[in-house]
């Protein structure tokens, strides 16, 4: 079904949006801003695993920790400006450990190639296992 933005709708964002789109974008921007603030706190913790914005759920922030979930939940809720859209879950491996694993693999790129294991280059193939930016 074709969709054409109504040109009479000109939101504060500077381009044409319907009311529903404007509200949706503003909510997402709000959650992005909150995500950055909370991430600044959470990502410095040793048991931090990751954060993502659950778009399918309407823009809920999900934080993962390998331990102390309830403690972190309380702290994040205390800091959150929109706590109703925040989830904290248990994760199996910390971000630090996952990044260390990945770094080792990438550092060994040439050694792996010598063994016949050639890593895909990013992006240009589009077939490689990619990484989300969040």
């Amino acid at each position: 079904m074709a969709y054409v933005p109504d040109p009479r709708e000109f939101g504060s964002l500077g381009f044409h949006l319907t009311l529903a789109e404007r509200l949706e974008l503003q909510t997402r921007m709000m959650m992005q801003a909150q995500g950055r603030e909370l991430w600044a706190y959470a990502s410095g913790l040793p048991d931090y695993a990751g954060m993502r914005l659950d778009h399918a759920a309407g823009g809920r922030l999900v934080f993962g920790f390998t331990d102390g979930v309830e403690t972190h939940r309380r702290e994040l809720l205390r800091r959150a400006s929109h706590p109703a859209r925040l989830d904290v879950v248990l994760a199996p491996v910390s971000r630090e450990d996952l990044e260390a694993q990945r770094s080792r693999i990438e550092f060994d790129r040439e050694r792996l190639a010598a063994q016949g294991i050639r890593l895909w280059a990013p992006e240009s193939t589009g077939r490689a296992a990619g990484s989300l930016s969040a």
Binding site: F15, G50, R52, H55, E99, E123, T125, A129, G130
Partner: protein
């Protein structure tokens, strides 16, 4: 580097050219049992359930739109990317082209450098590529027939004809502006498009794979504008205005080149708005 971390499952996925049981075993022995090897477009653990959505972007389904899958098949490699917009060069009989990312074609151009496929059918070959050291855009163009041109972007399965009415002039973006991207893999859902705010509107960086410096790109906030392999070349837009061509992730943030520089690089008049 073609590796992905999924913190929810606690796994590291390594994209390799020739995955085998032996390669898988070697990687796990060296790096841990939570390491997986795979080839091809790995399903995104955060955005499953879009099978039909992705498949339809793969289909040969005229006219040409932004945000559909293009396969670049050349001597250098075969890979999947996305389309950005259809553009034209003014003339008695205008020439029409589909824009994508230059690195998708390995930086090469010309009929000897392979072909570009759309839904399994041969579209054409890359006739111009701006991907070189110091470039202001990572862009390539593929000629198409007038009959299959469109001003549409494939935003969602039910928004396959998001109309483009103009393109933004060079260097008009400001930090904080919201812009959206339509690529093969991006995770826009329902009415929520894949959008984010601009972090840096004059971003220079070094492409480590190709050894190029790229300049005057635009970097997006990482938490809202999602991108992954295969989105390269995708349409970056705001409202009904064409803004850019998705490049990839740099420093963890999605990055695009400006549409104005891409048009200039290929001596194109504008994106198609008719």
């Amino acid at each position: 580097m073609g590796t992905r971390i999924d913190w929810q499952s606690g796994r590291v996925t390594v994209g390799i050219e020739d995955p085998s049981a032996a390669a898988q075993a070697a990687l796990r022995a060296a790096y841990g049992d939570n390491v997986d090897a795979e080839a091809g477009a790995a399903p995104d653990p955060h955005h499953t359930g879009h099978g039909s959505y992705d498949a339809r972007r793969d289909d040969y389904d005229p006219p040409v739109r932004g945000g559909i899958r293009l396969t670049f098949d050349n001597w250098y490699r075969t890979g999947y990317c996305s389309s950005a917009f259809v553009a034209y060069r003014r003339g008695t009989y205008p020439d029409y082209y589909v824009l994508s990312a230059g690195h998708c074609a390995g930086g090469y151009e010309g009929s000897g450098q392979g072909r570009v496929l759309w839904g399994g059918r041969r579209l054409n070959h890359v006739t111009s590529n701006s991907f070189e050291d110091g470039s202001y855009s990572d862009s390539a163009i593929v000629p198409i027939r007038s009959a299959v041109r469109s001003r549409w972007v494939y935003v969602q399965p039910d928004w396959r004809a998001w109309q483009i009415h103009s393109s933004i002039p060079a260097m008009s973006e400001q930090v904080g502006h919201v812009t959206c991207m339509a690529g093969v893999y991006n995770p826009g859902t329902l009415r929520a498009q894949n959008c984010g705010t601009i972090l840096d509107n004059n971003y220079n960086f070094f492409d480590t794979e190709y050894g190029h410096w790229l300049r005057r790109f635009v970097q997006m906030a990482g938490s809202g504008y999602h991108c992954r392999d295969g989105d390269s070349g995708g349409a970056v837009y705001a409202g009904s205005q064409a803004w850019g061509i998705h490049y990839g992730a740099t420093r963890g943030n999605c990055t695009y080149s400006r549409i104005a520089y891409a048009l200039q690089a290929h001596r194109l008049t504008d994106v198609v708005t008719f």
